[in-house]
Amino acid sequence: MKTGTEYYHQLARDTFMPQPGRIVEIADMTAKDRYFRVELEKPLGHHPGQFVMVSVMGVGEAPISISNGPGKDNTLEMVVRRIGRLTQVLHDLKVGDTLGIRGPYGSGFDLGNFYGSDVLFVAGGLGLVPLRSLITPVVAEADRFGKITLISGCRNPSEELYRDQLDEWTDAGIEVIRLVDGTENMPWKFGVGLVTEPIPKLRLDPEKTVAALCGPPVMYKFVITALGARNVSYDHIYVDLERRMKCGVGKCGHCQINKIYCCQDGPVFRFSDLALLPEALL
């Protein structure tokens, strides 16, 4: 084991120092969700489903999902919901401003588990943001997969994220099922219902299907139950979980799910691996 003051200084820098990222594009997705494209100094080198710690020095730091697929360029895409002090400050930033990025962190999705299979994505609300980091590479190599289906649901039409992207995926031949819990008197040309509702009627080969889920905590049990009823095996279901995180390196304790750390062992888990973790789906 290495020791010495020089090593500890380097270690402290490597662990906690954010790298600068310059905002090159901002777009409003909803009244409270804002899209950011950030140019880093070097490629992020991430897997789908990983996250970064985003910070503004003097304000704070928070875990934010990576929304773009893996690539060799220096791009980071994310969608930030205005929900607290840091996210308010992030929403106030302009193109050309700099923010701090640490990461990527976490296990992420392994594309190898999806090749050759029918792929079913189920996204609830903001869950579409991290899932997009997996959907993008799957759609890009669509011939290496079977049937690709996305069920994307949100509360009402004004809360739908990535609308143009959903259109593009539809045009690319992906079966995209767009749902809202209720239209709330807003114009909406797609379906109304919960993301579980299309599952019993899906054309679905349980032997060939691998599912990736991301959404609010309450969503998972119902979707997994619905998939179980269609005989999709639990080791073919991947869930991308959310937890409070302060460090990203398995120390601060906030993200612990029973004996494991969501920031390192997750946030993506094969559902069958969660059998011994009763705190996973709460």
């Binding site: 003051t5 402290a12 120390k251 304790g253 799910i257 390192q264």
Partner: protein, 348 residues
Amino acid sequence: MSYYLATQKEIVDWIKRLAAENPLYFPEKHGAASYRFTRVGPGSDIQFDHYTPTVVPPVKLLVPAREELLHFRTDADGKTEVRPSLDTSFRIIAGVRSCDLKGIFLMDLFFKEGVPDAYYLARRENTAVIGYACNTPCDERAFCAAVDSLDHTEGADVYITPVKGGDLLVEVKTRLGETLTAGVDWKPCEDGAARRIGAVTARPEPFGRTFPAALPEIYKIVEKNYESPVWDKHVKRCFSCGTCNLVCPTCYCFDVADDLHLDVASGNRTRSWDACMLPHFAEVGGGHNFRPEPAARQRHRVNRKFAYLPEKYERGAACVGCGRCGRQCTSHIDIFDIVTDLIQEGAR
């Protein structure tokens, strides 16, 4: 490794001499019955008798309540310079009892594992530890023997055991210990190991409180009783204040927050103690709380000490039996009682 025999006075003089040259912390009495690790100065009262565990364990000198991780400054052009703030100053912690040595030993493991923690390890590398053996239980709350920490000496540079006849047996355990004891004129001791065994065997038996089951079995019982009425029994009295976390020698969870100085151009990113018993510990943005009930938080805390960390590190219980959580709890909730109830519940 070498042994000496010294008198109490010789040891006290030695500690005062070390304290004159280095920051040295020793458990000094504050008020009627409370001890605190205090920076030793010329007026300090150094004595080893009548000790009860300090309110806050000595390992917290290595994991301070609040510490700076990064310092930043933004210049007039808007460029921000960020640099880590590392404490590499030397310190000595003396009079550390075995339970607290075990606490430091476990923290060493936790902070070395995975992504090593530069801040803890830099402080630890620059810290000398002088341990002191307990030959009688400190009070009725201790259960160090029950969790195998009564004879823990690893991590100490010098370890002192009171032996028959009133002398102190000094065991120099590391190179740093040799430096600390360089030039002492104590009597070298040929049969140190035997004298130490003599002191150990002369201790009262049982030593402090004991569990009605052996440790490896306890880990299984705690894990198996994930659903148990015991989790509701004690927590009925819990205020979710987090004191048990703050006084625990093996609790290290932390929060991270930024401070902006009044110049609005510079500041720090700091980390400070957090506590898994606090209501909002597992709450995410938007308000979803993954452990909203006090019982779920207490179960998590007990599982960390007696199931999760023992399984992960395979170095025994992550509770050192110091009894601090029970001693300091406003409602007298004691992890010893919770584990005992789980064992008895499991036996039913």
